[in-house]
Symmetry: C2
Subunit: 415 residues, 2 copies
């Protein structure tokens, strides 16, 4: 039997056991994983150094290299995440709702694990730790497929985690596919009957590929063409602080801001200030016609810009006449990830938050908060931008499903 | 612009309006639809007669013909369903949960409509009424694609419903694709950006086709290879009554029973009685070796039988040694739809209901209750056998998603 089917079968078997455990057992599993990662950090860091060396040889220094690198601090942070997740309330067994039907049937809708979750991801080896922890806590097994560039790190991390489960739960609940051929991913995407869910993490092109080719249910973790709308009455210092945070801190992540919309009433006063502040951070600013009438040296925006998720320090600015126009623009061009309004106007805040069609809508806060850790989930599987099953940061609850348990007293159906 | 894109765009536009309506408006819309269907029943029934005539000419009388036929009673029942759905509590705007983060952000997770829902289905034209009603009540627009054999009925029904919405909501929220080419379905399955969800209803082969070809998120409404396990202590009269109900009442529907498992302690006494009763209804019974040792004239079961969803009066019987063996057999061969135990043993009932991996697990009731109407949902979009988003009968709540609304006071992210 080949690696993929063998490991998928082992994961499924381990899941049947794991799904019957109580929370203290799963909590102990995560705590053991956390301790082992700290105790065995030299072993993990050594494997990581090999990946980093190979990467340098093959591609030289580039911005992705930093994502691959592990160090004591990053491992400690991942271990802390595991401990946080360990101590979250158990999602499994929760009675979500229940009622008695007209026939006297007692219906209970209860929360149960999903089963075996396939995750396909790139670079960052700490994702391996986060996802394994979230899966185990919520009673699921995982089939992990990391990028080839991180194979040594992932193998070391998974070995350490699996060993730590000895005597607590079946270690086969965590599986790493070591074959780094692209063809293995294609087969994973069609592993119905073995996998209950596939979560792809990576470039927009990769996620699109998964969506087109998967027959296993997928949750897309999508792009973030995010907007911040500075309303007519915004606290402008706050607006600038939030825009700089959302644009500059980590420009390549999906919860960074890509577009700023400014209400026409304050545009003339505010835009020059904003441009000046952003240029201190080397932000490249494009503007629509109305913006360029105010600050003439902005680059001109193209139609394509409005749909582009800049992965660098580029930002496009548009002047709008109302909150309605802002919402309409966002719903046409946004990717339904994170959208913010800066305002003190209650009516506009309500209108914006309820009418923008996105996973997260913010009032007076940075879009950068769209993140499982920041939401208090301990870690995240990813950020869903689709509407089915999970929307926004995915933690342990998003790795569960429900079932109906129905008690009768011999009822049969009449028609 | 062609029909599909034009109607999908109109539906999307209508949805933006509909998603902002309050519940009394949507309730009025459903009540108007219900009244119109009764008032204009002659018009609808005339169109239906045309479909029935065409079907008879093309294929003669067969079991599917009954599914196509409308009459006053069926229309009244569909209209009653609309009124029931109209009066359900509004799912939209519900605050599902909420908390304050360590940074002082106030997070509200609220329930909102999905958007535009594509439904591809066959035969039964009353499905058109049910699905349109569930969609509108939950703030969604629908793009309906019924079978070619019901095109006249569906066109009449949709026209009547759309006209009835005049002055209440935008009638474009209900769209029927009249082009009955198969190629239109293929395009619907890939209409990302227009459709938020596709629900296929039909044969197992068709649903498999949709799963393989859709890039829009799908909810599978699946097959029901369902089991009833008669435990050692079962009330045998109750068991027989439930098995006959689940097997005989409507053998072709997905919540009918296909397999009976009998505990070895009662098999010798019970199997002959059960066989005698079932044969009164012309049930064709197959048995495993142990069953045939008790009732020798049963047909022998093949390995394939255990995975087969009989669509007729066939039933297969297996003798098992324990509730554990029953659960193991069900988890290996079932389709995760509806599974029942007949018992008075509390421990076994708990073990069965929590460990069988299925959308609905029953104690002492017929599997036939897995149905939106029977659950109290008024009607159903279908019965989901997948684990993502919705599991079991899908009513209005299953046509919603959530979003996060987050209020801050200028917070920016620190790392």
């Amino acid at each position: 039997m080949d690696e993929l089917l063998e490991k998928a079968s082992l994961a499924r078997k381990a899941w049947y056991q794991l799904s019957r455990t109580t929370d203290p057992v799963r909590r102990r599993a995560l705590e053991a994983m956390a301790s082992a990662i700290i105790e065995r950090q030299d072993f993990i860091l050594e494997a990581n150094r090999l990946d980093v060396e190979n990467y340098r040889k093959a591609r030289g220094e580039d911005t992705l290299l930093d994502r691959l690198v592990l160090n004591e601090k990053r491992l400690r942070s991942a271990a802390d995440g595991l401990r946080k997740v360990a101590n979250l309330p158990d999602p499994i067994g929760e009675v979500v709702e229940g009622w008695t039907t007209v026939h006297g049937l007692r219906i209970y809708k209860v929360r149960v694990p999903l089963g075996v979750i396939g995750v396909v991801y790139e670079s960052r080896p700490n994702v391996t730790i986060d996802i394994a922890g979230l899966a185990i806590k919520s009673g699921n097994a995982v089939l992990l497929r990391g990028g080839s560039e991180a194979i040594n790190s992932n193998r070391a991390i998974v070995n350490v985690m699996r060993e730590s489960l000895e005597g607590i739960i079946d270690k086969d609940a965590i599986q790493l596919i070591e074959n780094t051929d692209r063809s293995v991913v294609d087969r994973m995407l069609r592993l119905n009957g073995y996998l209950d869910l596939i979560v792809p993490r990576g470039s927009a092109a990769f996620i699109e590929y998964v969506r087109k080719n998967a027959t296993v249910p997928v949750i897309e973790t999508g792009a973030g063409n995010n907007h911040i709308f500075v309303n007519y009455d915004a606290d402008l210092d706050m607006a600038t602080r939030i825009i700089i945070n959302a644009k500059v801190q980590r420009p390549a992540v999906c919860n960074a801001v890509r577009k700023v919309l400014i209400h026409e009433k304050i545009a003339e006063r505010y835009l020059p200030v904003l441009v000046q502040e952003l240029r201190k951070y080397n932000v490249r600013i494009k503007g629509d016609e109305r913006a360029r009438a105010i600050v003439p040296d902005l680059e001109a925006v193209t139609d394509e810009d409005w749909n582009t998720e800049y992965m660098d320090l580029t930002l496009a600015v548009k002047i709008v006449s109302s909150v309605e126009e802002a919402v309409e623009h966002i719903n046409r061009h946004g990717t339904k990830h994170s959208e913010a309004i800066i305002t003190n106007d209650l009516k506009d805040a309500q209108y914006f938050t309820w009418n923008v069609d996105a996973a997260c809508t913010y009032v007076n806060a940075s879009t950068r908060f769209t993140d499982g850790e920041q939401f208090g989930f301990g870690a995240e599987v990813g950020i869903s931008t689709q509407k089915l099953h999970a929307r926004g940061p995915m933690g342990i609850k998003e790795l569960t499903t429900t079932k109906y348990i129905i008690y009768g007293e011999g009822q049969v159906r009449e028609i």
